[in-house]
Amino acid sequence: MIMNKQEILEGVVADQLKNELPVLTIGDTVNVHRRIIEGEKERIQVYQGVVIAQAGSGINQSITVRRIVANEGVEIVFPVHSPRVAKIEIVRRGDARRAKLYYLRKRVGRKRRLRDRRRGLDALLVQEQTQADQNRKAQEAAAAVAATAVAEGGDEAAE
């Protein structure tokens, strides 16, 4: 019997988790910077749309982003911790009263737009603050680890 299976699984992917993610809520309009690899070349493409669903947690966290391209609805599911997602920016906070905005699929024209978010903005601010703190701590920890690694490497080189 392995007692701490969940801990082991989380530990394995711990260094793959991103520490610069914003607080994502349903209804937000976001810019997702996609890293697109074509053979040798790599470029960044920005995909803007509305977050209509979130799923998973930790390394498995993903968001579904919907937008309209050439009059055709497009939805892409992004694993947010994937290295192929270079960056996620919040453009605008939309007001949503439910966890999944699948009803937007049937909406046409101006009805598609969500109202700007007003409810719970204070709570959101607090969340953002804590997230920023967590991110900063994680980044500092990562930097410290990198620094010691460099120092050790330097020592070895000196020897």
Binding site: I8, V12, V13, I59, P83
Partner: protein
């Protein structure tokens, strides 16, 4: 280095892993493997084949038997729970000695592995689930027979005629809880500090189940090519 590396472990569970080179999203099974100890070395002279016996995981002596405790003590070990034999190429057994520890580091440089485990038991199952039969039609006069197999024939034993169904005719019965080998799985990462192996895809059995991991025995052509080019550097 011997041709065959082998180790025993327990399945921890599955997660996902992003490859560092291109960011590809890979499903991985995490296995906590080893350290294992060699309890017996079999050579061609005495046993007519080459093999080593591996022992894994400490056990309360009360849960073991005197015979097994003695067997482990001969190798200078505390009582172990699992003992499995691994066949080696002739002559390779000379590289092992009794009591030697084997850790996941032996898999450094190994690209593909076979994983042997015991599949989850499914109980008594019908032919549709057990053998992927199609069953019968939903209507057109079919009554109470929608998930049955069709005729099982009266073909005679392995001949065209006779009074009995053919031997080995696939029917309903017990499914799962059998030894299954998943072959040629990619080794994604090795974490020696925690005795962990990350292997691409699924492996047989439940979480916590014991599995045997060894270098692949039957590689396909494309994977053989990859291994040989990797060796050349």
């Amino acid at each position: 280095m011997p041709q065959v590396a082998a180790i025993l472990g327990r399945k921890v569970g599955m997660t996902r892993f992003f490859l560092s080179e291109d960011g590809k999203n890979v499903p991985v099974t995490v296995i906590q493997a080893g350290p294992c100890y060699v309890t017996e070395v079999k050579d061609a002279d005495k046993h007519e084949y080459s093999a080593i016996q591996l022992a894994f995981e400490d056990i309360d002596p009360k849960r073991s038997t005197m015979q097994m405790i003695g067997h482990d003590a001969k190798a200078g070990l505390s009582p172990k729970r699992f003992h499995r034999e691994v066949r080696l190429d002739a002559g390779d057994e000379a590289e092992y000695e009794i009591g030697q520890a084997i850790t996941v580091e032996t898999f450094e440089g190994v690209m593909y592995v076979d994983v042997v485990g015991t599949s989850k038991g499914k109980g008594f199952q019908g032919v549709m689930k057990r053998h992927n039969f199609k069953g019968q039609l939903a209507s057109h006069g079919v009554e109470r027979k929608h998930r049955s197999a069709g005729s099982i024939g009266g073909g005679g034993i392995n001949l065209g005629t006779g009074p009995k169904p053919k031997k080995g005719k696939r029917m309903a019965g017990h499914m799962g809880n059998a030894t299954v080998t998943s072959r040629n799985l990619d080794v994604v990462k090795i974490i020696p500090e925690q005795n962990l192996l990350l292997i691409k895809g699924t492996v047989p059995g439940p979480n916590d189940g014991m599995v045997l991991i060894r270098t692949s025995k039957r590689l396909g052509k494309s994977k053989q090519l990859k291994v040989s080019t990797a060796k050349k550097g």
